[in-house]
């Protein structure tokens, strides 16, 4: 009967008075007794993994021996004080650092089992798989339509019908379709900044990446637009693996499943977001999340 009603187990156990053992549910099923998914890294499918990752700008070490596992179809947040290396780490995941002069990367990064720093790795292909969204919305000074279709046009796709479908699907995916469906030909710079940021996300997902990297995606937005982006992130994780950098700890707590706290180029603590924000294991994490850093 429960299957027929398709109730989450949390409700079923409440209604029937049967208490399913918590650990039987955590990680394997999408619901547990606390009413929202709570995962354990041991049970996850790891999609992105670094091993002994180091990064230097010239002689300056910026990342020191980063080992991190990023689970598939989850939101992983990186938090930490300014300058600790969050953006640098994020840029490693799609080799954007290659474009920075004097930047050197050591160690390995596996994307779905493939080392992306191998010589044979096709960087253009990698960047299609790993999309990136930045702090400031950066639409091109072109129409809304062209912005979203951009990645596909670059790939040489020309069939109008295919492009139309992809644009609509991506704008819907980014929660923007209803707001712009009648102004697809308008210049994207005429959108509000919250809309622009969702447009950039639509552009990123139009090429159907596997991973979406978001570097402070909402820090330039008003609270309502911020909440829309957060809700979008929550929906996107059904199809994508998301990695978000944010200075807003409440935001990290709201949107992420896992949180990594970085300090001076190292990962001090990595764990389920619930634990990191209620019972961090390391002093420095606690100082940071409680506002004692300084």
């Amino acid at each position: 009967m429960n299957e027929m009603l398709n109730l989450p187990p949390s409700l079923v156990s409440k209604a029937t008075g049967l208490h399913t053992a918590a650990h039987g549910l955590i990680g394997t099923k999408p619901f547990n007794r606390i009413g929202y998914p709570q995962y354990q890294i041991e049970n996850e499918n790891i999609y992105l993994e670094t091993q002994g990752l180091k990064l230097f700008y010239g002689k300056q070490p910026v990342l020191m021996d980063i080992q991190v596992k990023i689970p598939k179809h989850r939101v992983t947040a990186f938090i930490g004080p300014s300058g600790c290396g969050k953006s640098s780490l994020l840029r490693c995941f799609n080799r954007l650092n290659d474009l920075i002069e004097g930047c050197r990367v050591e160690g390995k990064i596996f994307l779905d089992g493939q080392d992306i720093y191998q010589h044979r790795c096709n960087v253009a292909h990698l960047r299609r798989q790993v999309g990136m969204v930045f702090q400031k919305p950066n639409p091109f000074p072109k129409s809304v339509y062209e912005n979203v279709a951009y990645g596909l046009l670059v790939q040489g796709i020309k069939q109008r019908k295919y492009l139309d479908e992809a644009v609509e699907r991506s704008l819907k995916g980014a929660g923007l379709w209803d707001e712009v469906k009648d102004r697809l030909a308008d210049n994207a710079l005429g959108l509000s900044s919250g809309q622009q940021q969702r447009l950039v996300i639509a552009r990123a997902i139009a090429i159907e990446p596997q991973v979406l990297l978001l570097d402070e995606p909402a820090s330039a937005l008003d609270p309502i637009s911020t909440l829309k982006i957060e809700e979008l992130i929550n929906q996107l994780k059904e199809r994508y693996t998301l990695v978000i950098v944010t200075h807003n700890m409440q935001q990290a707590a709201r949107v992420s499943d896992y949180t990594a706290f970085m300090y001076q180029g190292q990962i001090v603590e990595f764990g389920s977001t619930d634990l990191v924000f209620t019972t961090p294991q390391m002093r420095q994490t606690e100082d940071y999340i409680t506002g004692r850093y300084g």
Binding site: F277, R283, E286
Partner: protein
Amino acid sequence: MPTLHEKAEKYFSSPLPSPTPQLTGHISQQFDQQLQHLHQRTLEMGGLVEEQTTLALMALLHQDTQLAEQVISRNRRVNAYEISLDEICVNLLVRQRPAGLDLRFVKATIKTVTDLERIGDEAKSMAYQAIALEQQENYLRYLPQLETLGWQTRHNLHETLNAFARLDLNAAEAVYAKAHVLKEDTFLRLSGQVLQYMFDDAQAIPHVLEMLWAGRALERISERSCNICNYVSYCVSGKIRHTH
């Protein structure tokens, strides 16, 4: 100048829980002050409740109805503390969005306040028992144990509040152990004696029963002290002890 690596090393080698957690040290001094204010006011409430317990016990042991009346009327102040502290906690949650130690402290305080209020109620019911026993001639001879149990219970409550005041994990665990044993013992010790008195003298049954209710109140106070010790442990260590 320590190198970058040395600096980082320092932090990696300091796992939690800290044996001496501090509610202060925030960048926001306002937050420091709000947490300290909450701590202070909760301790005030604790002091009041401890005093109520002491006075109720004295009223009972010395057959002092006036004192008992005083305890009963002062219970309103305990309730007022509960309401105002709840409000402080809610405001603090919404304004500061505490995390980590701060969050655990606020949660522990919310729960502590509830238990303190209940201890206040137990003191009040002991005061009522004191009044009910007023007419009995020298009833204490029936239950010499009540006096010892009473002071032990109050002493544990005092130490519980000390553990809360210092957020002292070790103290909280030590007091928990003592209060727990006392709680388990209280009723047992009293009821064994009570039965004996009832067999010896049927006339004594009504007020011996009344004394037994006082014993029940003490037992509950021990239980509440145990709870508060658990909240302190949780606040400091983040671990929840499951009691039964």
